[in-house]
Symmetry: C2
Subunit: 417 residues, 2 copies
């Protein structure tokens, strides 16, 4: 007879004891397993080109242009449609990416190591706001920024991190930033300042000259999402530490590709349970409306999977100005998530709730039994390739993915017992 409760405890203990340290920055092809040839990684569960949404297509096209595999968008589309350029989920390669989440072989990626259990996770450098690849934009301005990030900033940050013996402890950084109004997903303002400030003396020492150091520090400091990508890699490293425990009903991945949302469950191997990605309910930038919105997209729900993001909303009442709602809704969001989780995080606490730990470890049984799905904070991409971000808001995964996972769990475990 399997002991689900015990298996689940093991999962959350592993997730919470994982200590993700940002070590270095390396070219994706040199560090990500299985990233050979003309292959791109993307957010969410697997998807065929014919089903890919506008922003995902835009980002894949942009990556082909960035790599020099195509001279224009039409040529890139042909390569992607024909299979001459392959694309896999980031999650199949120990990686995560925000929004479209595209990683190409030449891109510099963060390397985060969970020193407790030894696993690693990878993510790209964050591009900032506006017209950016992760929202499906691929104009020359977007590509030029990516080249500067890759050729200038990436090298400087790698050299800066090399000057730090201990690396940057992202769990500690997150714990601090949750006490400073961040929830770690859509609001990473304090975390990005902590990150920039920690790196600043190292960047100055590592940069080839003052002007380069100044431009890197200005880029990091002006971008309130600078730390989002290392945070996502850290959450991936923490969640993966809890993956693969036989008999566990805890969700260890949740990701969207702009068409479908998929979840993985610790005791159910690498199988995805998928359903339609949600339409976010949110606030739009001037000139855009809900009619412009794509379905939800991105691996960034790895934050909710690890116990932060929408689950830590009570720590971040100011976020409602960005994603809609009232501060009281933020408190309510966290309180609701305690109902479908089995632990309170030992490292991530919420001052306004008397330093209670964030709700951690979604039990798919509770989701189905209570009819309460996980909450998701998210950015909103334009539905057409090449446009970019149009807003930010809230959504939820479809209940069907939890029901499907629970059926699969019963098939795998309960028949044999």
């Amino acid at each position: 007879m399997i002991d689900i409760e015990r298996a689940n405890q093991t999962v959350v203990e592993r997730m919470m004891s994982a200590r993700p340290i940002l070590r270095t920055i390396v070219r994706a092809a040199d560090v990500i397993p299985g990233m050979e040839g003309r292959r791109l990684l993307h957010a969410g569960p697997p998807i065929a080109w014919t089903h890919a949404s506008g922003p995902l297509r835009g980002a894949l096209i942009g990556a082909c242009l960035f790599e020099g595999w195509a001279r224009h968008a039409g040529e890139a589309e042909a390569l992607l449609a024909s299979g001459a350029v392959a694309f896999d989920p980031c999650h199949h390669h120990d990686a995560v990416g925000p929004m479209a989440g595209v990683i190409s072989p030449s891109m510099m990626v963060y390397v985060v190591e969970n020193v407790t259990h030894g696993n690693r996770a990878f993510s790209t450098l964050n591009e900032g706001y506006g017209k950016v690849l992760r929202y499906g934009a691929y104009s020359e301005e977007v590509l030029a920024r990516l080249r500067w990030m890759n050729e200038v900033m990436g090298g400087v940050l790698a050299d800066a991190l090399a000057l730090s013996e201990e690396g940057i402890d992202i769990r500690t950084l997150l714990a601090e930033s949750l006490h400073m109004g961040d929830e770690g997903h859509n609001r990473n303002k304090a975390g990005s300042l902590l990150y920039t400030t920690k790196l600043a003396p190292l960047v100055v020492r590592a940069a080839p000259n003052a002007e380069t150091a100044a431009s890197v520090l200005k880029f990091l400091g002006d971008n309130a999402l600078s730390v989002l990508n290392p945070v996502m890699a850290a959450c991936k490293a923490m969640a993966d530490a809890g993956h693969g425990v036989a008999g566990s009903t805890i969700m260890t991945a949740m990701a969207r590709n702009g068409t479908e949302l998929g979840i993985r469950v610790s005791g159910l191997g690498d199988r995805w349970f998928t359903g339609p990605a949600g339409m976010p309910d949110g606030l739009y930038f001037p000139g855009f409306t809900a009619a412009d919105a794509n379905r939800d997209i991105g691996d960034s729900t790895i934050t909710e999977t690890a116990g932060i993001g929408a689950f830590a909303m009570a720590a971040a009442p100011a976020i409602v100005t960005f994603i809609s709602g009232a501060p009281q809704d933020a408190m309510h969001a966290t309180l609701e998530m305690y109902e479908i989780t089995i632990a309170e995080h030992t490292a991530f606490t919420i001052p306004a709730l008397g330093f209670r730990g964030t709700p951690t470890g979604v039990d798919i049984r509770k989701v189905v039994e209570l009819g309460v799905t996980p909450r998701i904070n998210t950015g909103i991409a334009h539905k057409e390739a090449g446009v970019g971000q149009v807003g930010a808001g809230l959504t939820r995964p479809p209940m069907s993915v939890f029901e499907d996972a629970l059926v699969a769990f019963a098939e795998q475990y309960l028949e044999v017992s």
Copy 2:
């Protein structure tokens, strides 16, 4: 007949419309009015050497050593006791200083300009934690740090600020930091990160070499109170904008010298109303107890006077780990302060209270009528000269200073009407 309500509205409108911009850093003797000869400035209302507390004596001694007026503490004491070295309140010279608040002629000071009304305010550079002059320590380690701050960091920061056309808008910075868990007095963690991050590219460009830039950025980044002194100067500039309005009962200064606390009232000129400074109720560093504590000290209550600090506690629930209490107490502190103030700040808002403005403009009539004195967040200095900080906590001014001020107000205004 005087219109007190109208006068008070004028005061808070001037305080809230004041826009304090950090412009530059200059030697105190070159910019602070009336700072000629062998003269030191200190926190709080005026005091004689014979009544000065241990930490104030320690800081005044340290300043004499720093200036080279004395070779050892005994010599410095003799100069101070004899009047050969004079000392005045910072507030008499448009300045403010945390804790002992000592400013000597050679020290580099921040220059903050209220661009709405044209007045300026000054404050020293923050030394960080531990054994520091402002807590009354004056060992060679303390003086060496002050020399480095003055000779290296001060010049670099002055050159960095000179590269910024617009300066640094401290009101905007405070508004942001209040959304990031700061209250602006004892917790300036987010504000100091915002400050360091804004300065970083400028420091890199201004510094003579990378090592100097790195050391300045590390010093600023490691000190969660880096921005306290510019914030205090900004609050002084805002409060002073509301001072001197005939018929107003609004408090425009509150300061402690370690023996006495004094307040000033907008409609009552430059007169201080003084009483014994409080004994803070707080948390002590390991090895220290309440028996080691000095009475409350510092000009930092200019933050409460301007509508932040203890008045904005609801924005900073995490602060209770530092100054004692539960997060609910933080909420209660702000709610109580609405009872004795006449405005809700238009620039400083509290997300957890539905973005309500902070309680601003203490009306001495309300204090006396309700029997509720302003709350103060504070650091705690050791009572003996030369030791330093021993903890942090909460206190209040004595009710008598408000009663005395109200009697004076009646004498000045009500007899003639």
